[in-house]
């Protein structure tokens, strides 16, 4: 068991697709929450292999895409400071702020470094005691355990030159926002398996009850994806509103308890703005006050931020399942990976990037 090749078995995928075709009798719209899943779906052509009755719309689960413009601009201002080494996941470098991106800050002399893990940023702080090291702590529940551990480790090592710029978001409040909207089109969800690996799925039954939408916890390999879709179609066709764990090898109901405990020690719930969508109440995590010493927003005063979003970009509507990348008049024209107008065109989890890369 290698946990990869087994779940890419073309014959088995074909078998599940056939079952989906046999099961579906009318049109259904379902949303995959996670941008990683969007990319897998488009990369393996699953969207094109599904019967025409099933429409997949693409969710907000792309942390780079939903990080609010104001926070990007704040990151750019901090990164440009001569006393700062700014560290970030690589995806963030090309994300357009109001006037520029981290890449161009680096080109004009700012010290911006890409890290693979937030613990690498802590190491950079240890090695550069004369510099302020800032880590751009963005992400969903999946990334929170790593980001909070970096803060805890900096505290345990008594580092005075490490801080985090936090822009953390959570899936269930975003689902509330999508389902509660009068223009909602989503009838079933493929839940983001790795969010559930951390958080379990005890947070979802109230959503199920309130909005009467079935959900399948879904993994990332082609077989996982078609299985998640099949489970969701089965529930929709039978009028069953349940939550099915179609990613049992990786997800338990309780989730990862030590990780949840550590998240609660470092983070607390807060309102958060989502780029292109707006403020969603209690949808974010921010640092608890006892970690103020590691809060980059408190450490660096960057003055007032005036944001300017591209008027053409409809990424917010795409991430709520209301539009598709093709509906954007700028797609592939004014907006491309070389000249992105929105984050969704440059993130490895962005729907626009997936459609562009795989020629949809």
């Amino acid at each position: 068991m290698k946990y990869v090749t087994e779940f890419r078995d073309a014959e088995l995928v074909g078998g599940v697709l056939e079952k989906i075709r046999q099961t579906v009798t009318r049109p259904w719209t379902m949303m995959e929450i996670c941008g990683g899943q969007t990319h897998s779906i488009v990369r393996y052509g699953i969207d094109q292999l599904l019967p025409p009755e099933i429409e997949l719309v693409h969710g907000p689960g792309c942390p780079v895409c939903v990080t609010p413009l104001e926070q990007i601009d704040r990151a750019l201002a901090i990164a440009a400071r001569p006393d700062v080494i700014f560290t970030s996941y690589g995806d963030m470098l090309r994300v357009p702020g109001s006037a520029r991106d981290l890449f161009s800050v680096r080109a004009s002399g700012g010290e911006v470094r890409v890290v693979y893990s937030p613990l690498d940023a802590v190491k950079i702080a240890q090695a550069n005691p004369d510099k302020q090291v800032v880590f751009f702590a963005i992400g969903f529940e999946t990334t929170a355990p790593a980001n909070v551990m970096a803060v805890m480790q900096a505290k345990n090592l008594n580092l005075k030159n490490f801080s985090v710029l936090v822009s953390h978001v959570r899936v269930p409040p975003a689902m509330h926002a999508i389902l509660g909207s009068p223009s909602n089109r989503v009838q079933g969800f493929l839940l983001a398996g790795h969010v559930n690996a951390v958080m379990g799925y005890h947070e979802y039954p109230p959503l199920l009850e309130k909005y009467q939408v079935p959900m399948a916890i879904t993994g990332f390999e082609p077989l996982d994806l078609v299985q998640g879709i099949y489970e969701t179609v089965r529930m929709l066709e039978a009028g069953r509103v349940e939550i099915v764990n179609a990613y049992a090898r990786a997800v338990t109901f309780e989730g990862n308890q030590p990780a949840q405990k550590m998240i609660n020690q470092v983070f607390m719930e807060c309102d958060r703005a989502w780029r292109g969508i707006g403020v969603i109440p209690a949808s974010g995590w921010c640092l608890r006050p006892e970690f103020d010493g590691f809060n980059a927003e408190k450490r660096f005063d960057v003055g007032d931020i005036v944001t300017k979003e591209s008027p053409l970009c409809i990424a917010g509507q795409i991430m709520q399942g209301l539009k598709k990348p093709h509906d954007c008049s700028a797609f592939g024209k004014q907006c491309s990976p070389e000249t992105p107008l929105g984050a969704t065109m440059v993130s490895s989890e962005g729907a626009c990037a997936a459609y562009y890369k795989y020629g949809r």
């Binding site: 078998g15 992400g139 990334t143 355990p145 790593a146 990332f220 989890e349």
Partner: protein, 87 residues
């Protein structure tokens, strides 16, 4: 950035107070990861690694069960097809 990748823990050790390990992603790729959230993980266990952290221990039993179920479904589908033609 959110992608989690399965890998096999091959070694477990401590570094600066944190439980760490070497994880084999296949194809000769070995990387260090933090094992703080999988205290019971042992060398030989498979895990999902995300931004340098192990998120869980993958259950072989559940994986095999899922695959068996889907295989069964696959063969059922084939058996059903001729029936439908006959009907």
């Amino acid at each position: 950035m959110c992608l989690g990748v399965p890998g096999k823990i091959v070694e477990r050790y401590e570094k600066e107070g944190l439980p760490m390990g070497k994880v084999d992603f296949g194809g000769g790729t070995l990387r260090e990861a933090c094992l703080a959230y999988v205290p019971e993980a042992q060398p030989g266990d498979y895990t999902i690694i995300h931004v340098g952290f192990a998120l869980n221990i993958l259950s072989e039993e559940d994986a095999l069960e899922t695959l068996a179920l889907l295989r069964e479904m696959d063969s059922l589908g084939e058996e059903l097809a001729p029936d439908e033609v006959c009907n």
